[in-house]
Amino acid sequence: MVEPTNELRILPKASHEPGWRRVVQSHAVMAVASPLLALILWEIAGRLGWIDQRFFPTPSSIIRELLDLISSGELVVHLGWTLQRVTVGFFLGAVPAILLGLVMGLSPTLTAIFRPIIAAIYPIPKIALFPLIMLMFGLGETSKWVIVGIAVFFQVFFSTLAGVANIDRIYLDVARNFGASRWQAYRMIAMPAALPFIFTGCQLGIGMALIVVVVAEQFGTKTGLGYLIWRSWQVFEVRDMFVGLMMVAILGYGIQLAMGALEGWLICWKPHAKTKSLL
């Protein structure tokens, strides 16, 4: 006879777990539920007067304002302009960043030449350069593209460089043994091998682009979510300001989701693309 105390039973997991636990553990459900819960708590706190509605308007009143701004067509215009600036600025920064990152990653000489300059510029808060950039590129759209481009450049550049530095040497040995040219090595080895890093850099870069564009839109424009936020604060229209902030948040989240999907599709050769766990 085996005594019951010496027995370890390993059983299937799901059958006797309570339903609520399964719901909580479902990532998709929580991705929606947790922000929703935060909004509900905010609403309650506002209605009960725990927080001052004049400065922190309740989510329901913000959403009403949001719908007003959508139906008046104003919000779409602002959103469109911000999206345009982020997109143009992103490509302006990311494309040279990837190219330079790949080339530098495989060339110790170029690294020695450029790295000190780039490393020195990197810690400067990019938005502090904005007055200089306005001086060089004028007050119009170009200066906004440029400042967004600069912010994106550094994120993507350093990620690409790290990606290339992390390429397993053996892949480069294979390329050399099989007689690959420099260009073939970039295109067929360095680029795809560094792609996961490049993608991470792009995601960080987009986030940075949004931060920078919102600040840049305070100057020399009457369009964009940044302008909406800034003007609403200047005229003390707090609800409109929160609508602007909310739109930036939604835009940021949306772009991250889209990038995640794109990554899953482009880097399907990776066993566990991180996107799958996101939503």
Partner: protein, 274 residues
Amino acid sequence: MSDRAFKGSAKAASADAKIAIRQLSKSYDLGHDQVKALETFDLSIHDGEFVCFLGPSGCGKTTLLRMLAGLETPSQGEIVVRRQTQDRPLTSMIFQETSIFPWMRVRDNVAFGLRIRGVPRLEQQTAVQHFLDLCGLGQFADAYPHQLSGGMKQRVSVARAFANDPEILLMDEPFAALDEQTKITLQQELLRLWNETRKTVVFITHSIDEALVLADRVIVMSGRPGRPIADIAVTFPRPRLVHELKAEPEFGRQWHQIWSLLGSQPQALPEKVK
């Protein structure tokens, strides 16, 4: 069996060799110290020969292979390789670690060398399909490497090298990381492939079994700094069947002979013998 002692061998570096190694040595700089990996030696390998280099870890056999692959240069001496034609690549290497590209499907991995050389698409497809089938990869052509087992990955690596159709195949312990059963299967398939193509093969291993099963000639290396200490002809008839070969008394005799040679070397006991 005709065993040739190395020192003073007249045939050591004959003029008509496919690969002629003359007064070759290799050292590495490690800060202030110089570490000698390969002691000066001469050696010839003939066209169509299957040669195994056998030796303990750190005897410089991988260094020798990397020099043949053009990945490293000698410190002294020279290696002369005679080309048959400029149209085909001279060497293709099969590495010990997983070296197939995870971002390419199996099909594209096998086609890698052909794409690099700009072989026409149609010709590529025919060659790739041929070696996929030969290596038993037909149904995995569109899989990504992460979906394959270790053995399958090495098959892809072998197929990639064969599809490239080089004059010389360089193999650096390609089956060392595999389990016994897979290893024997792949050895058998390599023999079959080689029978079809009869390429010059330089194969590095630390397994006496593997060397005897595959090679025409086994070069036994000393411990560091490495140099050839014996050149043993293996004359089992081809085609060979791995499992039956191992049952031959002659196999056991030669195994024991090589074991003794390795054992006579200071610090030369193979670390990885299992």
